[in-house]
Amino acid sequence: MSSLFKINPKKNNIVIFFTHAMFIFFALLVVFKLIELQIIDPHHLKEKAKRMRQEKTFTFRGEITDRYGVKLATDTTLYDIYAHPRYYKSSPQNIATLISPYLDIPKDELVKKLSKNYSTISVAKGIERNKILKIKKFEIEGLDLVKRNVRLYPQKTLASHILGYVNSDANISAGVEYTGNKNLKKTVKSKAIEKTAHGEVIFDFTTDPRQVTKPVKGNKLTLTIDSSIQHIAETELAKMIDKTEADRGTVIVMNPNNGEILAFAVLPSYNPNEYNKFEQSVVKNWALSDVYPPGSTFKVLTVASALENQKITKDIEVMDTGRIKIQGWTIENYDVRKHPKPGMIDLAYLFEHSSNIGSLKIALKMTAEEFYNQLVKFGIGSKTGIDLPGESAGILPHTDTWDEIRQATIGFGYSIASTPVQIASAIASVANGGYLITPHVIKYKRKDLKKHVKFKKVISPETANTISEILEQSIRNSKSEAGKVPNFSVAGKSGTSRKPNPNGPGYIKNQVYTSFVGFLPAKKPEVLIMVVVDNPKGYGVWGSTVAGPVFNEVALQITRHLKLRPDAPGLNVKKK
């Protein structure tokens, strides 16, 4: 028996040898594998580990400011709370007791929510950071506090139609949030931050300490808007709308020399922080998307077209009969009862009394093609190219559909439809010596300006100067107060047009659009103001009595704000 356990020395050596060989073999395998992982090809595992440690960089959308840096839109952080019942360490009742005071949700409701049998429960959304810090201190297992950035508009309703709104989750936006979206989302490329499983940053020599402590922000967008002028425009417009119970209104203030829009007030307004609580008809920028018959303000373009096509001279006189019949249609002046037959009138009288007969006669002096082509040059019937979405091209019927009556009515601003921006842009060409400039609300860098803002010559400087002088003269001579700004000469025109019936031919009874467009100082214009008020109620509602006072008040305050030098001291100053 004992012989069984005797070790044969020779056999023993072989067994030991093979055992040694086996261990050495496996050890070599491990060594080779380690060499492969750490020396030959460590790259892809390093990258995989890096990716696992990296968190998606938290970014803020770029800020939107006015031309002087006043913040109009910015981002803030809010938190959403989710619960995972699988990981609860205390009961839903205890959790609810701890967190309900900070969430403004009744405890019972919270207990119901937390007790649901789902893998993930949405407990609360949009919680402020200071409340979340207090909830974090409880270290409640099973609660997930997810950070997200939310758009904030500190000025509330100011310039809401220009700013628009944004909803990143639903990928919808409006206003400059839409047109400037690419720029606002663009961030500087930065090194990805690596974090431990507990969420602590892994620092190395190349880690930028600023990047790890602040959210990365998109590019800032500067607008041409002056928030003070915007506020003035909105306030004065709101007062008039309130006074006349009008449906809506708009005030556009622009620099006619470079197309920069200093203010674009559109009422009724809305709060972009709560855009989803307002109707679409309020949220849309109707001054861009809706059209209206420009009425007597269009006479400026009619006369400018005739002068440019050399059909008339600045000293021309036309016979104003007060009333005329064309192709069976009767057209008359608005003051035909007061001035039944004015007789031979010059251009200053035409503008001062807003003579329809004078305008249509001048319109008919041109051929249809001449008049049409010049209006196309003025941008009527096409988009201005403003950097806001939803712009309408307006309606300018082609000459194929023109007959005498149509051409005549176009002469005083009917049978066509334009947006307030189109009319403002066209009249700006009269103010700046003959150039149609793309209106814009975004302040572009010099290198991008040529791409976005076009300058197109539409009338000669002589025509532009002539029209400016005549308009200035008409305002000076007019008995109305509209356009009379103390110490300044103003070139302007009022307009009143009946509202077309949207459901058929004809016009809506007793409903009008009132407007006033003007620029000052007349000889060297620095600002152009366009006012349109839709459907003011009451007796004696005209462009000069509704839109005119808004123009006056806005212009007066702008002259003080911009410190414009008076070009006519003593003019329009009321003696005490």
Partner: protein
């Protein structure tokens, strides 16, 4: 026997008759063995120093990392708080808020009491700082 075990004590297998001395004596070593032992001792000392150094440096780095982490958390919190405060400030000085505040003050109300004071016959003294300031006021402020 291997040199490593050479320093162990071993009993001499001598006859008792020939013994001059009796006891446990260390076996003699060769020079090579002695030198190897010295080198090993030195390496052990270095290893211990390296271990202690790495322990100390690790704890220093660990505490520094903790400090950096806590500073980082504080700075992050401050930055986010700063953003919130900036936003609140923008809201407070917005046209909307200023208008709302002014509409609540009854500017046109008559004073409840009128106090007459004597005219002060000297120029208003401004602080040097206030004199240096160039304020461009804007509408509403």
């Amino acid at each position: 026997m291997s040199p490593a075990l050479s320093h162990s004590y071993s009993k001499l297998n001598n006859n008792h008759k020939d013994e001059v001395l009796r006891g446990n004596f260390p076996l003699y070593e060769d020079i090579r063995g002695l030198k190897i032992r010295k080198i090993n001792r030195l390496l052990c000392v270095f290893a211990v120093i390296a271990v202690i150094t790495s322990m100390v440096s690790y704890s220093l780095v660990f505490s520094t990392e903790n400090k950096i982490s806590s500073i980082h958390n504080k700075i992050s919190e401050l930055n986010y708080e700063n953003i919130e405060l900036e936003n609140k400030l923008e809201y407070v000085k917005s046209f909307y808020s200023v208008n709302k505040k002014i509409s609540k003050t009854k500017i046109l109300d008559k004073a409840r009491k009128v106090i007459e004071v004597n005219e002060v016959d000297r120029e208003l003294e401004l602080s040097p700082y206030r004199k240096k300031l160039k304020i461009n006021s804007t509408l509403g402020y």
